[in-house]
């Protein structure tokens, strides 16, 4: 479908199984509340995901801690401000800071969200949903290609939780995500909680979502908790992963196999031991679902 692509022609070699990022195992988001315990006790966490913007600062304690964690654990960079679907020009200063941080951290990959965060010089600091139109598809695929060329690596794009959809959408979210990954030749981060939240909010079948996402593109899973708003579920990351999301995680494992999995927690941050217990739950589900006897059933 090259004819549908925008003007940008990527110089990043095409995605293939031999350049697909390896499965890192089971990780957590790196949060300041846990710095000391992580560095003192070397907990059984396979890798850490950082919020890129939290470390896009001139210096000081955050970067020093990050350096120490990155010496011991594989690290992945996860951003919230790339605004890949915005119609505002790509923020070159932001991209330069992102690249500088990547040089420092040497992350296994860099991810951000399928969303826009603002236009006309304003940043809403939210993950605004995209209309699922051909126009948006061309626009976003083109911008991903530009970012990948600038960073010199393939990036990972995550599906967001959304609370509204647009009248003008011409396809489902999963059709959009799948087609985008193919056209932009990017990897995907499948946020299982986001699929669940959006599935409830827009009354779609989460199984259809999982079935439509290309298996060879997914390199990471996110798990998180959410809360109930007045008219919809809200992706708050301030609670433990709920049973329904664990169940959907099992289905995701059945479809995509062993994929790097991490738990996001951004509010009501509990002791590290609680998150380690949740991570063990993810490990147990993966072990059960991916066991040979289960797969042969």
């Amino acid at each position: 479908m090259v004819e549908n692509r925008g003007a940008w022609r990527s110089t990043v070699p095409p995605a293939a199984m031999d350049n697909r990022p390896a499965n890192l195992g089971f990780g957590l988001g790196l949060r300041p509340q846990h710095y000391a315990e992580i560095l003192e006790s070397d907990p059984a966490i396979d890798w850490f995901e950082i919020i890129s913007e939290n470390y896009m600062v001139p210096g000081g304690q955050p970067l020093r801690m990050l350096d120490r964690v990155a010496e011991r654990y594989p690290v992945v960079m996860h951003g919230v401000s790339l605004s890949i679907a915005s119609t505002a020009p790509l923020d070159r200063a932001y991209l330069a800071d992102l690249k500088t941080l990547a040089r420092r951290v040497n992350p296994k990959w860099i991810s951000d969200h399928l969303c826009w965060t603002g236009v006309h010089g304003v940043n809403l600091h939210d993950l605004m949903p995209v209309p699922y139109t051909e126009e948006a598809l061309v626009h976003v695929a083109d911008r991903i290609a530009q970012v990948q060329d600038y960073l010199g690596r393939r990036i990972v794009i995550e599906n967001v939780s959304s609370y509204m959809e647009y009248e003008c959408s011409e396809m489902s979210e999963w059709e959009f995500v799948g087609e985008l990954a193919r056209r932009a030749d990017c990897w995907l981060l499948l946020d299982v909680n986001n699929v669940f939240v959006s599935g409830v909010n827009h009354d779609f079948n989460t199984g259809s979502f999982l079935d439509a996402v290309p298996r060879d593109r997914v390199v990471q899973f996110h798990l998180a908790g959410h809360s109930e708003g007045e008219s919809c579920l809200i992706d708050t990351h301030d609670a433990a992963v709920c049973e329904a999301v664990w169940k959907l995680y099992g289905k995701a494992l059945e479809r995509f196999g062993a994929v790097s999995t991490m738990i996001e927690r951004d509010g009501n941050i509990p002791p590290l031991a609680d998150l380690l217990a949740e991570l063990d739950q993810a490990r147990a589900i993966a072990a059960r679902v991916l066991a040979p006897e289960h797969q042969s059933l």
Binding site: G59, G60, S81, D91, W116, V122, N123, L124, H125, E167
Partner: protein, 265 residues
């Protein structure tokens, strides 16, 4: 403008509260109304910006209380919508905003508390620099000290306050009720900087403040000594200057010490 650009502009205007709604763009949800769903983003926008301010101005929030702080966050957000991808910089205009906001101009300790908190935050994650040691200073020959230039650490912030804001800050840090705000007869000189991993501040005497400002301007240690001699007792000026320098080095305020190259001013 493309359809996508038009949609994003309209949705953003609705979230910022500049139009009554972009509901015609939103698909009918299975539960609630189009406006309910848009309202989730609108509410989240206000809450998020307030949270950014709370994170950066924790003591100001305690001082003002939740209700007044929320009102302040609303008026600040309206005047200074975020224009940065990194939320860390959203709150950076708050001290100046408070300085000129009609309601707060009558309460200068509020702007000064914000100024102090911003300086501490900026020092905390400010740029890295080498730290000069006493051994570095001892390596300079005594006869060369007059030509010494001091590099001030990039995390150093210097300013003066006119209220008892340092007492307010200290009480709030200890979780105690702050003393009543007070306009001081004389301004208080402050220095904020990072030492090891933490940011800190201290009150400077006028002479020391003058000395460190001269060092920041790149004046030689000899010139600084001469100015100190003019400021107070000339006989002990060199001793006082040496004391200041020792204190700055021990506090990691000096990032380098070098002898001015011949022929430069």
């Amino acid at each position: 403008m493309t359809k996508l650009a038009t949609l994003q502009a309209e949705v953003q205007r609705a979230i910022l509260g500049k139009t009554s709604g972009a509901d015609h763009l939103i698909a009918a949800p299975p539960l609630g109304t189009r406006l309910d769903r848009l309202g989730v983003y609108r509410t989240a926008y206000g809450l998020r910006l307030t949270e950014f301010l709370q994170n950066d101005y924790e003591k100001l929030r305690t001082y003002l209380g939740d209700v007044r702080f929320r009102e302040l966050a609303e008026s600040y957000s309206a005047a200074h919508p975020s224009d940065q991808p990194n939320a860390r910089w959203f709150s950076r205009h708050l001290p100046e905003f408070l300085d000129t906001a009609p309601h707060y101009r009558r309460h200068p300790e509020v702007a000064e508390l914000a100024l102090l908190e911003r300086a501490l935050n900026d020092a905390f994650d400010g740029p890295e620099a080498p730290v000069c040691t006493m051994a570095d200073a001892a390596a300079i020959k005594p006869e060369d000290f007059g030509e010494v230039i001091l590099g001030i650490a990039p995390t150093v912030h210097r300013f003066a306050v006119t209220t008892n804001v340092t007492s307010l800050w200290a009480s709030l840090k200890c979780g105690e009720a702050p003393p009543p705000p007070e306009d001081m007869a004389q301004k208080t000189e402050l220095i904020v900087w990072r030492q090891a991993s933490g940011s800190r501040f201290r009150i400077l005497g006028d002479e020391e403040a003058m000395a460190i400002d001269c060092a920041s301007q790149g004046l030689t240690f000899g010139v600084i000594c001469e100015m100190i001699a003019v400021y107070d007792d000339a006989g002990s000026a060199a001793l006082r200057a040496a004391g200041y320098l020792r204190g700055w080095i021990e506090a990691a305020i000096i990032s380098c010490i070098r002898i001015r190259a011949e022929g430069t001013k």
